[in-house]
């Protein structure tokens, strides 16, 4: 069975009848790169947050299995410790908590594992070495590690730090929600290089994007087009170029007709 299996997933905004996901089916495994493309308001970000466990959405139908385990039974922190990661489109600032301290706490929470886990904190010299390597990979200046997390960061810096956290937590499946937005061309190359280095037999990624731009750097195995809460088409890398030239409107027509 694939590592991530999404079956007929429906979700509402919590406490309302507003349905944003209207039956999503998708399967992927570690080592694979999938991309979800779609126009604004099609449900791309909703899907990423429903998978991560955002309290603002409730699943009304369907199931999600992660390595055979029912993901929807788990709280967001448990999903993270199980090996799911979400790079936020709009990461939150945590003033007074440094990047290094925060990531160390997160790494230690992962090392501890589940609720019955044994406390086994990472040794500080080992942690320092790992984070410095990851920062070099993403061309982040060392001094940034002692700044407050996302506090006063530019949009591009925030995105790099999301990928830094991904590198340190080594998830099995990473969802990258609009990671390319707000990045200039150099930053996009650096972040994409980082993603390419990290994806491998132990990690797969689901790239959520509005534009085909990032897919020039990170080559997807499969592309899915999301419209109005449903995946309307799936295909290979060529689908991105088709979208780029003809736009979402043509597909919309196709779907309706």
């Amino acid at each position: 069975m694939p590592d991530l299996v999404i079956r007929n997933l429906h979700a509402n905004i919590t406490g309302t009848d507003t349905e944003l996901l209207k039956g999503i089916d998708l399967q992927m495994s570690k080592g694979e790169i999938h991309a979800i493309m779609g126009p604004n308001g099609s449900g791309k970000s909703t899907l990423s947050h429903v998978l991560m466990g955002h309290p603002g959405y409730e699943v009304t139908e369907g199931e999600v299995l992660f390595e055979g385990q029912n993901l929807l039974d788990l709280a967001a922190d448990q999903r993270s410790r199980a090996g799911l990661f979400l790079s936020f489109q709009y990461p939150f600032a945590v003033p007074g908590v440094t990047v290094a301290n925060f990531i160390r706490m997160a790494v230690n929470a992962h090392r501890k594992g589940g609720p019955d886990g044994v406390d086994n904190p990472v040794r500080i010299p080992e942690f320092r070495k790992q984070i410095q390597e990851a920062m070099e990979l993403l061309e982040i200046d060392k001094s940034m590690a002692s700044r407050s997390l996302n506090d006063g960061f530019s949009g591009g810096e925030k995105k790099r730090f999301e990928i830094l956290q991904m590198a340190m937590l080594q998830p099995k499946i990473a969802i990258l929600d609009e990671t390319d937005s707000g990045l200039d061309i150099d930053a996009l190359r650096i972040v994409s290089d980082g993603i390419n280095r990290l994806v491998g037999p132990n990690m797969g990624t689901l790239i959520i994007t509005h534009y085909q731009r990032i897919l020039d750097y990170v080559k997807p195995d499969q592309i899915h087009v999301l419209m109005d809460g449903r995946i309307v088409r799936s295909g290979g890398a060529e689908l991105a170029h088709e979208l780029e030239t003809s736009g979402y409107a043509d597909i919309a027509k196709e779907v309706v007709s």
């Binding site: 709280a75 993270s80 936020f88 945590v94 007074g96 925060f102 929470a109």
Partner: protein, 467 residues
Amino acid sequence: MAPETADVDLGEYKWGFHDEENPVIKIERGLNEDVIRQISAHKGEPKWMLDFRLDAYEIFLSKPMPNWGADLSGIDFDNIFYYLKPAESNARSWDDVPETIKNTFERLGIPEAERKFLAGVGAQYESEVIYHSLKKELEDQGILFLDTGQALLEHEDLFREHFASIIPSADNKFSALNSAVWSGGSFIYVPPGVRIEQPLQAYFRINAENMGQFERTLIIVDEGAYVHYVEGCTAPTYSSDSLHSAVVEILVKKGGRCRYTTIQNWSNNVYNLVTKRAVAEEDATMEWVDGNLGSKVTMKYPAVILKGERAHGEILSIAFAGEGQHQDAGGKVTHVAPNTTSVITSKSISKDGGRSSYRGLLRVNKDAEGSKSKVVCDALIIDPESRTDTYPYINIMADQVDIGHEATVSKLGEEQIYYLMSRGLSEAEASALIVAGFVEPITKELPLEYAVELNRLIQLQMEGSVG
């Protein structure tokens, strides 16, 4: 260094235990002239002090209860014990402290802290200081660190010159009360040019039910000298209330610096009504670091009067109001001389229906031209039941001044917690981390040991509320 959390009871006040009472002297409940005469007689004070006390008592009676701050209607002055002497003498060695009292201070970690990082320790239990120490080399440099009552007897001239010179009895109802019945507290004198690198600490413990603790602290930092004084306080949890009403006066002479750090962690049945004021002379620096976690009601606004040119005042205040608590705290700065500077940073956290108020006064007198001041107050509200208010009073009478004021109120956001949880932190860890980050501007100013303790206390408070 990570805070130790292994043996912590979730959300429970750890210092709520009490010892059996075994007082040497316990004056009957309530307050009258005779009680004051008894206190003064037990202490063998000079007549001028008895007169001072009786005069203050008249002032106390004549002043109405303050009605502009927290609700004080629960205080029953007739039900309070005003003087309780727990042991015969003020020991210089922990071995000489009565067993039960020593055990209490050991549970609070005081002797250990003394060995590790303190230059001197005072430990007050009920009305009297029962233990006092100062490192020999500091004594040799002419530093005085002793219980205030003893200072009156042993250094009467120095004492009389400064006592009540910064906070007169008539300042407010509770300073009058303290002046009438004061007992214990710390007296510190640091000679010119002497810098004490390790902190001096005093620890205040209330043990008996309905106890009133009225310590009086007087610190004189002579020219170019430096001292960091730390006070900590706890009390048992009882169903009826106790009262803590201290007066702290500090004089920092030319070019000197004093830092006064408080970690107040009273149990939730203590009214904590304290008057603290410092005068900073030319080029002197006064810093108040004021942490208020416990108590039922706290009203406390550490003040600095910038009396000499280029004097600097700094007030860092943090308040944590939980269930049934009202923390009415803040700071006051008066710029008297030209080119003086001040910073007030206040952070408050309210949760489980707790209420925190920032109350601040910034005053720049007519002659204080070229002065600068910055006031920042930030409030964090954990849940919708809790409340925060800001009362910033600013009164500028000078021209050519630079004044900044910022205030923010933020709510602990579900989305922010979700973001941290998506990295593997539990909900409790996530909210504790946000709160720890919020108070970081204060904790980073504390010596490591106290920063760890403060973070641990906050974590404890947060763990009680989540999950």
